[in-house]
C-alpha cells in the first residue's frame, strides 16, 4: 500500500498501480452484508462441507479414544523416556500456539497500523487463533500425567498449604497462555457483537433469530455505543499486541531459562515469535484459499490479501533463517564443547534427516515467494503454506528432541521415537481444529461485516 497525500488516504487505501484492490468492484453496504450473512443463513449444507466435517470429527473420535487410553494407562503409552521427557506433547504445544499468533497479529497489530486490508481476514484468523490455542492447551494438560489435577498450577488457597513457584517459566506459561486464550476470546466476541445483530435481523427462523439476538446483546448501532466500542476495540488491540509477543517469548523461556545445550540462548524469544507468525500466516493461507474459493468470497478476500500474507511469510521466514544461522554460529563461537556437539549432532546425528528437511521446507522452498508469479498463484501459495507448516513442526521437533536426547553425559543419552498414540493425539488435534473451523464458518459470519462496510468509500462523511 502506498501512502496518499493526506492522513485520510491511508485509510482509503491507495494501492500501487499494478496492485490488486482490497475490495472487488460493485459492492454496496447491502450486497456485502448479504454475501457474508447468506453464506451462513441461506446457503444449503453442501456435500463438501459434510465430508470435511466428517473427516474432522473422525479424527476427533480418534483423539477421544487416544486420550481415554492415555488416562487409563498413563503417559507411558507415548514415546517419551528419560532423557527425552517432552516429546510430541511439547512439540505440538509450541507448534499450535505459534499458529494462533498470526490471528492476533492480523486482528490487533494490523489494526493499530491502519492496514485496512486486514478487515476481511481478521474474523476467521481470530477464530483460527482460538481453536489453535485450544489445541495447544490440551498438550501440557495431557502431558501432566494426572490432568485432573491441572488446577494445581493456579495459585489458589489449598488445604495443602502449598503454592506455585513463580521463579519457574512453566508457571509463567500458565499465566501467559490462559491470558492469551481469554483475551483472544473476548476480542473475537466483541468484534462479533455488531455482526450478530445483523444476523438477528437477517435470520428468518424464530429460533435462529433468538440465538443471534442473545449473542448480539441487543446491539442497536447507537453512535454513543460505537464511540465506546471503538475506544475499547483499539485499546484491546493495543494490549493484545504486547500480549501476543509475550506469549511466544514466554514459551521460548521454557527452553531458554534452562541450561540444556541448544536451548540456553538469548535469540530464542525473537526467533520463536518470528517462527510463530511464519507458521500462523501459512495456516491463514491454508484456510483462506479454500474458504474464498468455495464460498465465492473472491471480491472480499482478494489476491491482495494472499499476496500480502505471502510477503509477510517471506519476511518472517528470513528472520527464522537468521535464527538458524546464528544458532549455528553461536554454537561454535561460544567455545562450549556441548553447544558445538549439539550443532554437529543436529547436522549429522540420528535426526539429521529432520534437520535438513526443516532447512529445505522453511528456508529454501519458501524463497520461491520472491517471484510475483508464484505469489499470484493460489495453488502454489497453498502448497508452500503446507510445506512451511510441516517445516515449522520439524523445527520444534529438532529443538526439543535433539537437545534432550544427547545432552552433557553420553552415558545418559537416549533415543526418541514417537508411538502410534503420539500420532493419534497429534492428528486428533488437527481434526479438532478442522472440525471447529468447519462449524465456525457455518454458524458465524466468517468475515467481519461491519468492518467491511467501513472499506467502502460511501462510509466516509463528506463535506456538503
Amino acid at each position: 500500500m502506498q501512502q496518499g497525500p493526506e492522513e485520510n488516504t491511508v485509510l482509503m487505501d491507495v494501492p500501487w498501480p499494478e496492485e490488486p484492490p482490497v475490495l472487488g468492484p460493485g459492492q454496496t453496504f447491502g450486497s456485502m452484508t448479504d454475501t457474508i450473512a447468506d453464506a451462513v443463513l441461506t446457503r444449503p449444507i453442501g456435500l463438501g462441507w459434510l465430508v470435511g466435517l466428517a473427516i474432522g470429527m473422525g479424527l476427533v473420535a480418534i483423539l477421544m479414544a487416544a486420550v481415554t487410553y492415555l488416562f487409563l494407562i498413563g503417559v507411558g503409552i507415548w514415546g517419551i523416556n528419560i532423557p527425552v521427557g517432552w516429546g510430541f506433547a511439547i512439540i505440538n504445544f509450541v507448534w499450535w500456539i505459534g499458529i494462533g499468533h498470526a490471528g492476533t497479529l492480523i486482528s490487533a497489530i494490523l489494526l493499530l497500523l491502519k492496514q485496512t486490508w486486514r478487515n476481511s481476514i481478521n474474523r476467521f484468523a481470530e477464530a483460527m487463533t482460538l481453536f489453535a490455542v485450544a489445541c495447544a492447551g490440551m498438550f501440557p494438560l495431557l502431558h501432566m500425567g494426572r490432568p485432573w489435577l491441572a488446577y494445581w498450577m493456579f495459585p489458589y488457597p489449598s488445604s495443602m498449604g502449598v503454592w506455585p513457584q513463580f521463579r519457574s517459566p512453566l508457571v509463567w506459561d500458565v499465566f501467559a497462555v490462559s491470558t492469551y486464550a481469554t483475551i483472544s476470546a473476548v476480542f473475537w466476541y466483541v468484534g462479533l457483537v455488531p455482526d450478530f445483530a445483523t444476523m438477528r435481523e437477517k435470520a428468518s427462523h424464530p429460533l435462529t433469530k433468538k440465538v443471534y439476538g442473545m449473542l448480539g446483546l441487543g446491539w442497536r448501532g447507537s453512535a454513543r455505543h460505537w464511540k465506546r466500542y471503538e475506544a475499547l476495540y483499539i485499546l484491546l488491540a493495543g494490549i493484545a499486541t504486547p500480549l501476543v509477543l509475550s506469549v511466544h517469548t514466554v514459551v521460548s523461556f521454557d527452553f531458554a531459562i534452562s541450561i540444556v545445550p541448544g536451548w540456553h540462548t538469548t535469540i530464542f524469544p525473537p526467533y520463536f515469535v518470528a517462527g510463530a507468525i511464519y507458521s500462523g500466516f501459512a495456516m491463514v493461507l491454508v484456510l483462506a484459499i479454500p474458504i474464498r474459493h468455495f464460498y465465492h468470497l473472491e471480491s472480499m478476500i482478494t489476491m491482495r490479501h494472499l499476496q500480502n500474507a505471502a510477503k509477510i511469510m517471506l519476511a518472517t521466514g528470513l528472520i527464522v533463517g537468521y535464527g538458524y544461522l546464528f544458532e549455528a554460529f553461536m554454537a561454535f563461537y561460544s567455545g562450549s564443547t556441548y553447544e558445538r556437539f549439539m550443532m554437529q549432532n543436529r547436522w549429522f546425528g540420528p535426526y539429521a534427516v529432520f534437520y535438513w528437511s526443516l532447512i529445505l521446507f522453511n528456508l529454501v522452498i519458501p524463497q520461491v515467494l520472491w517471484a510475483p508469479k508464484i505469489r499470484a498463484n493460489t495453488r502454489w501459495l497453498f502448497l508452500i503454506s503446507l510445506v512451511i507448516l510441516v517445516g515449522m513442526w520439524l523445527e520444534r521437533f529438532i529443538i526439543i528432541v535433539t537437545s534432550l536426547s544427547r545432552d552433557f553425559l553420553p552415558s545418559s543419552w537416549g533415543h526418541y521415537v514417537a508411538t502410534r498414540w503420539d500420532y493419534a493425539i497429534f492428528f486428533g488435534t488437527i481434526g479438532f481444529f478442522a472440525a471447529a473451523m468447519f462449524i465456525f464458518i457455518r454458524i458465524m459470519p466468517s468475515i467481519s461485516i461491519f468492518e467491511m462496510r467501513q472499506l467502502l468509500p460511501e462510509s466516509e462523511v463528506k463535506a456538503k
Binding site: W172, F175, T198, Y229, L235, Q454, S459
Partner: protein
Amino acid sequence: MSHAQLSPAIYGILAEFDSSTDLVYATKAAYAAGYRKMDAYSPFPIEEASEALGFHKSRVPLIVLLGGLLGGFSGFGLQYWINVISYPLNIGGKPYDSWPAFIVPTFEMTILFAGLSGVFGMFALNGLPMPHHPLFNVDRFSAVTRDKFFLCVEAADPKFDLVDTQRFMESLKPLSISEVPH
C-alpha cells in the same frame, strides 16, 4: 409540551437517512436546534456522528487503565506474598523476592484485568445486554444493521414537541419518519 402529554406516550421520533453524510448533517442540525436527548444509529462506527451529538469522550480508556493497574499490582502482590511471606522456598539460592522472575505473571495479569474490565465496562456503560428496546418496535429500524442510518429525537428531551419536532425532522429531508412507540 402540553401536546406531547396529551398524545399517547412515545419514545421519540425516528428519521431514516441513506448515507452517513446525511446522518451527520442531520445530527448537527438537531444539535444546533437545541435537541440533546437524541442518538444517531448506524451500521458501522462513524466518528463524526458521536461528535455531532456532543459526545466527545468515553470513560472506557479510564476503566481499562484502572483495571490494568489493579491487575498489575494484585499480580505482583500475589507472587510477593506467596514466595516471600506465605510459602518461601529456596530455589537455587535465589532471593525470596526474585522480582525479575515475577514480571511475566505481573504483565499477564495487567493485560488480563485491563482487557476484561474494558470489555465489561464498555458493555455496562452501553447498557448492554438489552434485548428489548423501543426502537425495535419500528420495523424499518432493522435496516440499521445493514445499510440505513437513523436519527432518533427522544420524547424525554425538554424541547420535544410532537408536532414541532416532527416538522423539524421533516425539514432534514429524511427517507422516512416514524413515531417510536414504547
